[in-house]
């Protein structure tokens, strides 16, 4: 893309944003409450949130890099950078966030048929259908391929029975994408299929899990003779593990990047200074280390994206980002708790939900593959150390 085209796109976008982004949506939207998740049951927190989503969806700006025919804006990597810069310039909230955008979308774009893309992607882009993820199972833990949920072949559909756990916001989702064992005789990784399931049907029940942070972002989801038609499979039968692996990479990048995003780009030292008039040596030293790591990890995320665009895949290195990003985010929140002092020790105290946010980060290094699993992946696949 030439410099002229770039500049033209930037100016056009800037005008559009100026004209279309409601004032209330220009606060950065870094709190949990400000997120627009979409879905059938979504209740907009304000008219502005609704308008902002609709306007963005119409332009494809909820999923700017997706092809236009599937609800995106078809932006190139360079254009996406400009898009993010201009959104950042006016501190605009993301119009929509969802597991459909972060996870199922990329998987469908890579593994789905044209029909599936046309059917599933636009409703995600418009925020009409909210998805959740059904990977983990009780007792499986880090051993994700240890899938016990079973899909019995009934000709034109599978009859699914089993239980998933850590299904994020499953109680608020419309559909679930799940790993289901469709061949019990094959080796562990070879008998799994990646299925899409409407959660409104009979036989799918969900139950929130209360976490130490006091909220319930995760659920248990139970399948009892749930019916999944044969065309609701992504990729080939019994090759769901390939889809899962691909998707895990996306999830890892998302979780690692999420850590950075939560702070809204402000330096940790500045955040700490909000509550501490003068930082003591210990906190200041920790804050500087944290800031250095923050910036370096942020640059690494950028580098990997640039490499991907240049056709150099990051591959298993995404495990690195996930590990580094989540561990850093935990540290960052530890520092924020220190800086908050006793004000941070109350639920809904003077610092809002600071304690809840801190506790929430402790899951970052567990969900989507633990830090230990990430390190083992790096050790084996990147360094080639013997298993």
């Amino acid at each position: 893309m030439s410099a002229t085209t770039t500049e033209a796109f930037r100016l056009e976008l800037r005008d559009w944003l100026e004209a279309n982004c409601p004032e209330e949506m220009r606060d950065g939207g870094v709190t949990e409450d400000s997120i627009c998740w979409g879905g059938k049951d979504w209740v907009f927190t304000s008219e502005a949130q609704k308008v902002w989503l609709e306007r963005c969806a119409a332009k494809g700006y909820t999923v700017p890099t997706w092809p236009k025919e599937y609800g995106g804006a078809g932006l190139s990597r360079d254009e996406e950078k400009i898009f993010l810069q201009e959104m950042g310039r006016i501190n605009a909230r993301p119009p929509l966030q969802s597991f459909g955008i972060w996870m199922l979308g990329p998987a469908l774009l890579h593994f789905g048929t044209h029909e599936q893309k046309l059917h599933y992607l636009p409703p995600i882009a418009r925020g009409e259908i909210r998805w959740c993820q059904g990977y983990s199972e009780p007792n499986a833990g880090s051993d994700l391929a240890n899938v016990q949920t079973r899909g019995e072949d009934k000709g034109d559909h599978w009859l699914v029975n089993g239980q998933k756990i850590w299904t994020s916001y499953a109680d608020k989702a419309d559909w679930i994408f799940a790993l289901v064992r469709t061949d019990r005789d094959a080796p562990k990784h070879k008998g799994i299929s990646f299925l899409l399931c409407d959660m409104e049907q009979a036989g799918v029940e969900t139950r929130p899990i209360k976490m130490i942070s006091g909220i319930s972002p995760f659920c248990e989801t139970f399948f009892t003779d749930a019916v999944i038609p044969k065309d609701q499979i992504v990729g080939e039968e019994n090759k769901g593990w390939d889809v899962a692996k691909y998707l895990l990479t996306h999830e890892r990048e998302m979780i690692s990047g999420g850590g950075q995003g939560l702070a809204g780009g402000r330096a940790i030292g500045a955040v700490l200074s909000d509550t501490m008039e003068e930082m003591d040596a210990t906190l200041r030293a920790d804050a500087m280390r944290c800031e250095i790591d923050s910036l370096a990890i942020g640059l690494t995320l950028e580098r990997y994206k640039d490499q991907a665009e240049a056709g150099q895949g990051a591959g298993d290195a995404s495990a690195m980002l996930k590990y580094m990003g989540t561990e850093l985010n935990k540290q960052r929140h530890e520092l924020m708790m220190s800086a908050g002092g006793s004000d941070a020790l109350e639920w809904d105290g003077p610092l809002g939900n600071r304690a809840g946010d801190w506790l929430r980060t402790k899951a970052n290094s567990i969900e989507g593959g633990t830090s230990e699993v990430m390190l083992s992946i790096v050790s084996r696949r990147v360094l080639g150390l013997p298993a």
Binding site: M211, F218, T282, S338, G341, E346, L359, K362, I366
Partner: protein, 370 residues
């Protein structure tokens, strides 16, 4: 000075362990949290009957007078099961403050502490960090007494305590007041604490105090408060060491029992080494706690370094213990249904109370000449 548990101390620990395992396991804290309750008067009465409330009260005031090391032993055992009680506020801090005043009023107060009749809370903090020197709450001389105006926060055990020790600024320094918590002009608001324990924000509006309400001398609060704070900091360090031990025990148990990829996760060397490192830290912390207790008993004038060392080290170790505890448990450790979260939250509150890591690290540095 021997850095080894005496036979009496070992017996005391065993006895406490037995009592707390049945009377105040973690499930008891959970029940209280779910019920929105932060004090159990009956439990505290039982503890008083065992001599715990009077652990620092002289025998002639009805106490068991076992000393600071013994208080640490009890606090440590309480930490293991996160037992809820006003032990540190009342039996350690208030009792130590009252002990250093040798009048009949103080003696009566100590007797009421020992019997379990009276509970106390220490109201020091006004900002987000522990900093007694920065006290602004004003006690203005008026007639023969004082009028108190100002605010306190993070008053641990303050919502339920019968009496408050209030640090206030007087004309030429700081003064410590010992007043009932229901005195006119005192408005207490229970804080909704993450550890589900009692703490309060308290407003003082034209609260009247007499000269009799002053503990120790006017403008000389630190004569009374310094030993009380040090005793409290040591006991809190001991509680946090117990908390680390409790969390660690739970974690090692899980490592031995939980299977992943077909084997117990305790077979994974990376986890083994981290668990071993954590154990090393708990051992080293235990020495600092024991030393603080001995110094308070045997050389109280010079116990400051030992106490700050204990609090700083215990804070760092507890943080590591709960972070590793949650991480090694994986998802289940993050659920409210599992106990590990209670340890993590209490460790965070304990880290802040009576001076955080940085506060005590600076005190260690100052005592060591840098």
């Amino acid at each position: 000075m021997k850095l080894v548990m005496s036979e009496e101390e070992t017996m005391l620990a065993d006895m406490a362990r037995g009592f707390l395992d049945s009377a105040a396991p973690v499930s008891k804290l959970r029940e209280m949290r779910d019920a929105g309750v932060t004090h159990d008067a009956a439990l505290w009465k039982e503890m008083a009957d065992m001599g715990w409330a009077g652990v620092l009260v002289p025998e002639d005031a009805g106490g068991s007078d076992m000393g600071f090391a013994a208080a640490n032993v009890i606090a440590r055992e309480m930490g293991k099961t996160l037992a809820v009680s006003p032990f540190i506020s009342t039996a350690v801090i208030a009792a130590t403050a009252l002990r250093s005043v040798s009048d009949a009023r103080a003696r009566d107060a100590l007797a009421r502490i020992a019997s379990g009749e009276a509970t106390y809370a220490l109201a020091v903090d006004e900002g987000i960090k522990f900093d007694p020197d920065a006290t602004q709450l004003e006690a203005k001389a008026s007639g023969n007494g004082f009028t108190l105006n100002g605010k306190k926060q993070f008053v641990v055990d303050g919502a339920n305590a019968d009496r408050l020790l209030v640090l206030a600024r007087t004309e030429n320094g700081l003064t410590l007041f010992d007043i009932p918590s229901d005195r006119a002009g005192i408005e207490r608001t229970a804080s909704n604490m993450i550890d589900a324990r009692d703490a309060a924000r308290i407003e003082f509006t034209d609260v009247e105090a007499t000269g009799d309400d002053v503990l120790g001398s006017v403008d000389q609060a630190m004569d009374v408060l310094r030993p009380a704070l040090e005793a409290g900091q040591a006991a809190l360090a001991a509680e946090m060491a117990g908390l680390s031990a409790g969390a660690f025990e739970m974690t090692v148990g899980y490592l031995k029992e939980r299977k992943q990829f077909g084997v117990e996760i305790g077979r994974f060397q990376a986890l083994q080494h981290r668990a071993a490192h954590l154990w090393c830290e708990t051992e080293v912390t235990a020495s600092a706690i024991l030393n603080a207790g001995r110094m308070l008993d045997e050389d109280p004038e010079n116990a400051g370094l030992a106490v700050s060392l204990a609090k700083a080290k215990a804070t760092a170790t507890a943080k590591l213990a709960v972070i590793e505890g949650v991480q090694m448990h994986g998802g289940i450790g993050m659920t409210d249904a599992y106990d590990m979260g209670f340890y993590m939250k209490r460790a965070r509150v304990g880290a802040e109370w009576l001076g955080d890591f940085a506060y005590h690290a600076e005190r260690v540095a100052a005592a060591r000449g840098f």
